[in-house]
């Protein structure tokens, strides 16, 4: 724990671990009958843990390890993707990082603060955006929500004005400030929410599904803004999402969690390797033919004269292409890089097979 | 018909899942029953035959009120908030194109709910009340049966009123105002505050012929054996008459509303 004395507010010196987790655990006691869901709240998380830990269960109190010993460090100014399937423990982790939940074990420090002990102090240094849950005031003009933040966070006037101006400009909010929030579109509301989370200059921004349900243009706007925020302000960003394009476009580093454990922590490229993923060769033939059978390639899909063949990402495509060109009436072909979605899906499959 | 039975069963099951809420409701009904019973005792202590009831009958009336409060939805709180919400959001258009009839559908749901509330929230407070107070509960099973018929008719009348209230949301900005008026009228004219015969002069006479008397006053009088023979038939006819009239009004309003939805394209 090197950050003990680090000042959370405006300290410019980049510490190694701005966010630090050391063997963090969260164990829930779940009382549940054999039949039916766990109910609201952390139900999603609990289900994941239950599947892993206990399997078929009786109608007794049992323990669910929603987060099962996670350790990582995020330096100041990094933008990290935090992904995993529903119930993997993502939001439990975020809730511990924000101080909402008290961890059952391990050590946790965010900007030098122990979140669960000093939740309200930490609140001044973090911003949180929930994609599916607005914190804006439904019936009031957007600007009113910002004015509330101004006073609730006791943001100095000048700083508030500057931050608001900047957000309004970059997030294109000028026209929306006087519109009641209920009249905003989903994309507009999301931009409004992001601005609301940033008015107090948080050093860390947690984003939970920030692009969910948005159209392509809104997604692009949100991503541009986040990239800019991270680059110019050095805001540390932790992003959970189902839309892996978010990760591909924004994050150099990604962490994959499942069943409460960290499966992967590293760069995007490394994720591809770890996934032992395959590349795909898309072949257009002159006519419809039965799937091409060749050693070192695996037919994936056939659609009329077009066929998809998977081959190991570590191999070169050249020999395979030569063989096909020799044996089949070839019109066109292209090589597709593995998309991250497939890689991660494969990781989950591999892991649960173990 | 089979469809509506299934819908009613669904309504029953849905409320049956709220176990803690049911327990909490029973608790509240019991507490209010105790408080009201004592105030009635103070009143009947001075006027022993007030409204034609003796004290055990008056106390039975109190506990019946608690038992039927949720069942006959005297304070609202059934399907109507959901229907109003569907009208407000326009989802009701989907319901109107369904093969099932809107009014019958919701009636089935509400009957299912009422059946659960009668069992789940009606019986326990009554039993608890009978431990502490001397009640005038009939021994004759036929009286209980007659009572159940009256309660069923009461639920239908209550439904018909609330259906009208909910449909008003087609024309009013939000149904809150109409629902509120209905709540006030229901509480006052059902006899929830005091038995209607205790209301002074003309107020009591007017209250007795309004539809809300079907919700508590009539079922209670049936259980207390105040209506027998032809008098019982007349009481049923009164309830059924209001039920038919109000359901018919609901149908008219529903068809007007349907035309409106169709014209607006949903």
């Amino acid at each position: 724990m090197s950050t003990e004395g680090a000042d959370a507010g405006d300290a410019g010196d980049a510490e190694d671990g701005f966010i630090e987790l050391d063997g963090v655990e969260k164990v829930f006691d779940v009382r549940r009958r054999a039949r039916g869901g766990a109910g609201a709240g952390a139900g999603g998380e609990a289900r994941g843990g239950a599947r892993r830990g206990i399997g078929r269960l009786r109608r007794e109190k049992h323990q669910v390890r929603a987060v099962d010993g996670i350790s990582f460090r995020v330096p100041r100014g990094e933008m990290v993707g935090y992904i995993g399937p529903n119930g993997a423990g993502k939001s439990t982790t975020i809730k511990m990082l924000t101080g909402i939940l008290t961890p059952s074990g391990g050590r946790l420090s965010v900007a030098g603060i122990d979140p669960s002990r000093e939740r309200t102090r930490l609140a001044r240094h973090i911003g949180v955006v929930f994609g599916q849950r607005t914190t804006l005031w439904w019936d009031l003009p957007l600007i009113d929500s910002y004015r509330l933040m101004h006073r609730m966070y006791r943001i100095p006037d000048a700083r508030f004005r500057a931050n608001l101006e900047r957000c309004v400009e970059l997030l294109d909010l000028a026209e929306l400030l006087d519109v009641p929030v209920r009249q905003l579109s989903l994309g507009q509301r999301m931009r409004g929410d992001i601005a609301a989370a940033l008015l107090h200059d948080p050093a860390i921004l947690y984003l939970d599904e920030p692009t969910i349900g948005l159209d392509v243009i809104s997604k692009a706007k949100v991503r541009d803004f986040l990239r800019n925020l991270n680059a110019e302000r050095g805001t540390t960003v932790l992003l959970t999402t189902h839309d892996l394009t978010d990760i591909e476009q924004l994050c150099k580093r990604v962490m994959v969690i499942d069943h409460g454990r960290l499966l992967y922590d590293g760069g995007l490229a490394g994720l591809h390797e770890i996934g032992r993923s395959e590349r795909t060769l898309v072949v257009d033939l002159e006519q419809e033919l039965p799937p091409i059978e060749l050693p070192g390639a695996r037919p994936v899909r056939t659609e009329g004269p077009r066929q998809w063949l998977a081959f190991p990402a570590t191999e070169s495509a050249a020999p395979l292409v030569a063989r096909i060109a020799a044996d089949y009436p070839l019109v066109d072909l292209s090589v597709r890089e593995p998309d991250i979605e497939t890689v991660i899906a494969k990781m989950y499959v591999d892991r649960s097979a173990v | 018909m089979r469809l509506y039975i299934a819908v009613a069963a669904g309504g029953f099951r849905r409320y049956a899942t709220y176990r803690v809420a049911t327990f909490a409701g029973v608790f509240t009904n019991t507490v209010f029953g105790y408080i009201m019973a004592y105030t009635y005792m103070a009143l009947w202590d001075q006027r022993p035959r007030l409204g034609g009831y003796d004290l055990p009958e008056a106390l039975t009336y109190v506990w019946l009120g608690q038992a039927l409060l949720a069942t006959c939805a005297m304070m609202g709180g059934g399907f109507e908030s959901e229907l109003i919400e569907r009208i407000r959001t326009g989802d009701v258009a989907v319901d109107l194109y369904r093969p099932a009839d809107l009014q019958l559908w919701w009636l089935a749901v509400d009957l299912g709910r009422a059946a659960f509330h009668l069992l789940g929230r009606g019986i326990v407070p009554m039993v608890l009340g009978s431990f502490v107070f001397e009640l005038a509960l009939p021994a004759d099973p036929l009286t209980w049966l007659a009572f159940l018929v009256a309660v069923t008719l009461g639920v239908v009348v209550s439904f018909a009123i609330r259906f009208l209230v909910a449909l008003s949301a087609f024309w009013l900005m939000d149904g809150a105002g109409a629902a509120q008026m209905a709540l006030l009228a229901g509480l006052f004219f059902s006899g929830m505050l005091l038995p209607l015969p205790v209301f002074p002069g003309a107020l009591g006479e007017v209250a007795a012929v309004l539809p809300w008397s079907s919700l508590l006053q009539i079922p209670a009088d049936v259980l207390l054996g105040k209506h027998t023979g032809w008098d019982l038939a007349a009481a049923y006819a009164f309830q059924a008459g209001w039920a038919v009239a109000l359901l018919a009004a609901g149908r008219v309003l529903q068809s007007v509303a349907t035309r409106r939805v169709v014209v607006q394209g949903g």
């Binding site: 002990r117 | 408080i35 509120q180």
Partner: protein, 296 residues
Amino acid sequence: MESRAEGASAETSADLPERWIPRSSRRAAVRDGLRAYGLIVAMWVRSTMTYRASFVMTALGNFAVTAFDFVTILLMFAHVDSLGGYALPEIAFLYGTSATAFGLADLLLGPMGRLGSRVRDGTLDTLLLRPVPVLAQVAADRFALRRVGRLGQGVLVLVYSLAALDLDWTPVRVLMLPMMVISGAVIFGAVFVAGAAFQFWAQDASEVQNSFTYGGQTLLQYPPTVFSKDLVRGVTFVVPLAFVNWMPALYVLGREDPLGLPDAVAFLPPLVAVVCCALAGLAWRAGLRAYRSTGS
């Protein structure tokens, strides 16, 4: 400057359990809480006022529904001259003090009864992310201005009773009046907070709370002579609602206490209110701690 001071305190408080809070910062938390409460209430009032017509209607409805309690009493008095040995103005005094105290608590803290639904749908979490006390935010959550209707009818009945009562208004009796209303509101407020805290464990049980709040104020609208002694003992010594108005009001009305307690009991409400607040605060803290360790 400020952030440096915070950094220093972080070092010292890092090893202390959360419960340990220095007195000065506790006072600051109360101040922060009240300020946040005011800010959030103002937002809700403005939201309400965007639907002005709806507000007027619901406020009137709230007035009418709650006034039914008094209408019931009036209907009773159409047949009798006294109830439990109390005349109408005296019962109106009990009703007025109970309804006014409760109306204040209900207006200011009533929405806390909805905490369970916030726990259930997970929106409580957003309140835990703000740098102000959660209690203040929950108390202000969905502040419903229409509840002035209830308060209004309570005040009206109280005013009527003061005009109709034939009492010798000594200074002590006059002072009893604000003391009763304020202490009563605080006692009811404590019940609201304790009830909300209970909902951290049982989210669907908000109606149990209604038994103590709405049920309690209905009880207090009638003279204690109406009820059995056991019930009166219960609301004196177990859930101390009798201190909201019965004990002090009996003194003001010059009536005998049915439990035969000494006169001094009439002056206890402020003390009882403070004790209730402390207990409610403990319950709240325990509830919040339980929530933060279970997340549901």
